[in-house]
């Protein structure tokens, strides 16, 4: 292999070639951000404590975020809204739990492999039925499959009903790489294994969406009929992408089971978990690759942390989601460039701030006057 410099000039910009990606590139700023992100991920077990955050919670957030990354493949490219991704997350988690509790499998990596296989098969099975549907029917069908699986697990003695199953064989943590660990060691080894696998999976996803297959999915999302006319086997491609997105969810669910060491139906399989996974993707920014991951960390952290520190813990999240809908429709990562550009423009020209205030004021005035008119008409009728 020749000694190529990773830097390259392209369209007048210096870009960085990423290894192992067949020529995919990042700009300098993106490279810096990516490296910082990777460093933060690796330092997380030590950094989290310093700034007063719970590492375990962040870990779970990353896992749900990973499921959201999978879901985002459907949401961003084929424009299908899946409301049933908890089925794969929970499927993976339960695969781990069942193998450990009923079959005494104690090697963590084996359990994880089983989780991925079970969840992916589940996704392939469900995907076979739903691939031909679009819009609200797709959402409701995936929801129905999810609900059937949840109801079956919830009411079945094999899965120990609502109490769930423990991922322990004879009271011990599962082994990792064939070795038994202390509690802290187990968490750390599991975390770093997951992070490495996660980075690989993100890289693969990045390659996938920029491959001809990913472009074909984009075409399907824009117009199915046209995609069919230019020779794309629409149903089969949707089926494949559905299966891949299930794989990501299953992986996340498997690690979740290994991290919590106990799997219950409600936090993993319930239909509202599906909703949360979907909203993580939007919150973080579903037009980007890593946005769902950020959204997952944020939403899970908020959901878990606010529960203990606030009496009213639903409304703050609701208000954040409202703000996302109305002010940041592209999500956090998607709007970041716009916000930064806007801020820097205002920093160089403070006069713009006055304009902003005027715009806000006039829009409030306008909506107030419209509201009074509506109320007047509703109460007194049209004169």
């Amino acid at each position: 292999m020749s000694r190529l410099s990773p830097l390259e000039e392209r369209d007048g910009e210096t870009v960085v070639r990423v290894p192992l990606t067949n020529g995919l590139t990042l700009t300098k700023g993106q490279t810096a951000l990516t490296l910082v992100g990777i460093l933060v991920l690796f330092g997380l077990p030590f950094l989290a404590g310093i700034v007063g955050l719970s590492w375990g919670r962040l870990f779970r957030g990353l896992l749900f975020g990973m499921a959201a990354v999978g879901l985002n493949l459907l949401l961003r490219h084929t424009e299908l809204v899946s409301f049933g991704h908890a089925a794969f997350f929970g499927g993976g988690a339960y695969a781990v739990a069942v193998l450990a509790a009923h079959l005494d499998v104690s090697e963590g990596l084996l359990l994880l492999l089983a989780a991925v296989i079970v969840g992916t098969l589940l996704a392939a099975f469900i995907g076979y039925f739903v691939a031909g549907y679009v819009d609200i029917y797709f959402a409701l069908l995936t929801l129905a499959f999810n609900a059937v699986i949840f109801a079956t697990v919830f009411r079945s003695g094999f899965f120990n009903y609502n109490d769930g199953l423990a991922v322990r064989v004879g009271g011990d943590n599962p082994t990792l790489f064939g070795l038994g660990w202390t509690d802290l060691g187990y968490d750390l080894v599991l975390y770093y294994t997951t992070i490495v696998l996660m980075l690989v999976m993100l890289l693969l996803m990045w390659r996938l969406v920029h491959s001809p297959f990913g472009r074909a999915l984009d075409a399907i999302g824009q117009d199915r009929t046209r995609a069919r006319f230019i020779g794309i086997p629409v149903e089969r491609y949707v089926w494949i992408s559905f299966t891949i997105s299930g794989l990501y969810g299953a992986f996340a669910g498997g690690v979740y089971a290994l991290q919590r060491l106990h799997v219950q139906p409600e936090p993993t399989l319930y239909v509202f978990v599906s909703g949360e996974i979907l909203f993580m993707a939007i919150l973080g920014g579903f037009t980007t690759l890593v946005g769902p991951l950020i959204g997952g960390v944020l939403l899970v952290y908020l959901l878990e942390a606010t529960r203990f520190s606030f009496y009213y813990y639903h409304a703050p999240i609701g208000i954040i989601l409202l703000a996302i809908v109305f002010f940041m429709p592209k999500g956090i990562m998607g709007s970041l460039p716009d916000i930064l550009a806007g801020l820097s423009r205002r920093a160089s020209d403070p006069g713009l701030l006055g304009d902003d205030l005027q715009t806000i004021g006039s829009s409030i005035r306008r909506s107030l006057s419209r509201a009074t008119t509506t109320v007047r008409i509703l109460v007194f009728g049209v004169r």
Partner: protein, 310 residues
Amino acid sequence: MIDSFFVHTLNGLWYGFILFMIASGLTIIFGVLGILNLAHGELYALGAFVVFSVVGYATGLVASPEDPVSAVVFGVVVLAAALVAAAVLLPVGAFIEAVFVRPIYEREEVYQLLLTYALLLIFVDVMKFGWGTSPLDAGTYGGLNQIPTTELAGFGYPSYNIVAMLVGLAVFAWLVWFFDRSKTGRIIRATAINRDMATAIGVSTDRTFTLVFAMGAFFAGFGGAMVSIGPQTAFLEMGLDPLILSFVVIVVGGLGSLKGAFVGALLVGVISRWAIWLYPAVELAAPFAVMLAILLVKPEGLFGTWGEIE
């Protein structure tokens, strides 16, 4: 066997009528506005909480039911309280539509789902603020069963359930009349079929949509109120399961179809109660299995009409 078949079928019908009241609002909102309202279950729960407060005040005004006459008076007062509680939901629904939902009709449906989910979360805390976290029992179930109508029918069955079923039937009849015969109902249907055309001939779509959302909220709240004055308590999470089941109902019946919601609700109600009786393990899964079968075989539902109320 025959007796318990009868009782379970009746229980299923009762449950179906309650589901219909929730699902009818969901289906007309979806049919006219094109929004799948995830906060609908919370409107139902809000109705259940409001009726708790209203009933406590209203029943204090009349004698406790002992003889048939006072029992009938009591029943009428409780039903009136349920209506008042549901009426509280009218301005709530109108406010939500005008402030939150109206700006996002043109957006992708993901945002509509996200918005209504956010409203769901906020509603939970509003109810927590208003009524606290412990389940509340309106305490009228015993009083309502003092009305001796069922003794006339020849077998023992709580008269509350009979009353609730009759109310559900009345709601269905009124809705059919409203959308078939009344002028406002026809305007709403016209708007659902073609928004641009309706605007062109002078219908204010904004006001129509506000009205429809308020109506949906009203019936959801009425369903909640009818449940809450019965044997069930009002609790914070009560909106979730009916919401998911109403999805099943409106999918089985056909999205946006009123008659479909009616048939679907009774079907889902009866099937789930039969499942409890015969094979409890499948109770939760049975409605979704029905929904899956319908979606896969006949995706438009039993009475499927897109965006049109029939």
